[in-house]
Symmetry: C2
Subunit: 325 residues, 2 copies
Amino acid sequence: MIELPPLTQIPNQAELLVTHEAIHPFVHRTPILTNASIDRKAGAKLFFKCENFQRIGAFKMRGAASAALRLRPEERERGLATHSSGNHAQAVARMARELHIPAYIVMPHDAPRVKVAAVKEYGAEITYCNNTPDERQAALDAVVRQTGAAFIHPFNDFGVIAGQATCAMELIEDTDVVLDTIIAPVGGGGLLAGTALAGRYFSRRAEVVAAEPKAVDDAARSILSGRIESNAVNLTVADGLRTNLGERTFAIIHRYVSEIFLVEEQEIIDAMRLIWERMKIIVEPSCAVPLAAILKHPERFRGQSVGIILTGGNVDVDRLPFGQS
Amino acid sequence: MIELPPLTQIPNQAELLVTHEAIHPFVHRTPILTNASIDRKAGAKLFFKCENFQRIGAFKMRGAASAALRLRPEERERGLATHSSGNHAQAVARMARELHIPAYIVMPHDAPRVKVAAVKEYGAEITYCNNTPDERQAALDAVVRQTGAAFIHPFNDFGVIAGQATCAMELIEDTDVVLDTIIAPVGGGGLLAGTALAGRYFSRRAEVVAAEPKAVDDAARSILSGRIESNAVNLTVADGLRTNLGERTFAIIHRYVSEIFLVEEQEIIDAMRLIWERMKIIVEPSCAVPLAAILKHPERFRGQSVGIILTGGNVDVDRLPFGQS
């Protein structure tokens, strides 16, 4: 097992390369799919990086692996801790199981049953809390104090960001054309920050842009104002994108991401339906946000080769956003 | 374009090989996926042949291509005709478009809107009829009389059977282990008959078995009684499997298929959910029937390498069989 040094600043090219090497035993090199009928609709050549086929069903496995491998052995053996009701919880739980160490996950009482079941299946210990930022933090602090486990932040961590960067590194390496644009969705910004670094270090040409639900447009506003903005409400079908940026992700995104496209809820659902129906793969609503942006701005992407990161496929098939007619 | 001679009897090994060669420009060589977590649940090593990624989203493209290439040029240019409200309609329409000839599809008035739209998108001319066998046949006869188009039967045609056989040929060729069993669902029997021939001609060991919804167990009863049985009602979630066998498919299946496993409706839905949730791919209920059979009879399949044909992925995402809680 390759162990990694801690990262205290924005990772450089060599640090991303060694991260990719180190996490290799813990993640899949996911396929890149294309679809002629969606290409015709978009007027562009789209390369979908399928992190829905990643272990635990989402790219978060990359960041969790990268962060866990940066802990000193005596830290690591006390276990991993985090707060999350989503894919990051599963990723931390799964990585802990791979390393044969305990995992402690703080989840809200009202977390989806399927997410709780998945985390339990990986053998993690769950602590329930009320669903407010303060209570979540208090519950996490208590868990860390009692167990000595290492907190793995869902995104605001250079180790996590370096892990997420490996997704776009593979996208760039495995695509047989030179990409003009790479587009990723943005929530807390871990994936987007990593993608921006990968684009800068490993692509001759690709511009890295982002897509965000208009209902939670904090990242777009943060880029404009130059400081981290937040959302008054966070109601969007793209449940993976409700979070605000952190200072580490913001520092990278502000510097290296040129544009954030905003899309409406119905546009997200329509794009998700298009991926399901044409590509026959299951993707989360968050995945559909970049495609929605491309279909909304055909003039921006026309004729281009565009890499799209499909972030994950963990949806509750009992609660889909399509019309149940 | 390779043209094929007509088939008036059960195709032999060489005829399947040349069929595979001839249809190559019109079909995808679909991937074979594996899933460690479903393997653990099944106690077997499963190889899923993903015809949900086939053109038009189902294996039916193979049979339509094989049948169309067997028409004499002067027949072919008058166009293709069929009756179907499902994947075969789309396959015939798409193949006609590939050959730049007309397609005439007879569909019931109450066919799903999405299926009608897909057939229209391929440029076919639709004739609506009432949803009874007699009226359907009358409408088809009228279309054929008026247009001179060639009728492509959905399954009871040796050309179609030869086309469907190419799916298992690829499964056998592209799997890096020797398969112990190949399992396919059975409706009209075109796929199963083709799979049985492919298994017999191209596998050193594989036994070909089938799976069928208990609610429409006509094929299982036909094997026992030695003649084609039919269903009094055909209510099953596996809408691709409601048809009875034809005499050509029966002749092959009766001879070469050793066993047909029956599964309950809820077992089909549970297996479909398992494929969706673990593999992150969209498959039709019919696809889940073989996996349901494997999970129901673990002792039969334990420790084996089993090839499973996933027939297609054309589901209406607005009407899924999962509980909408």
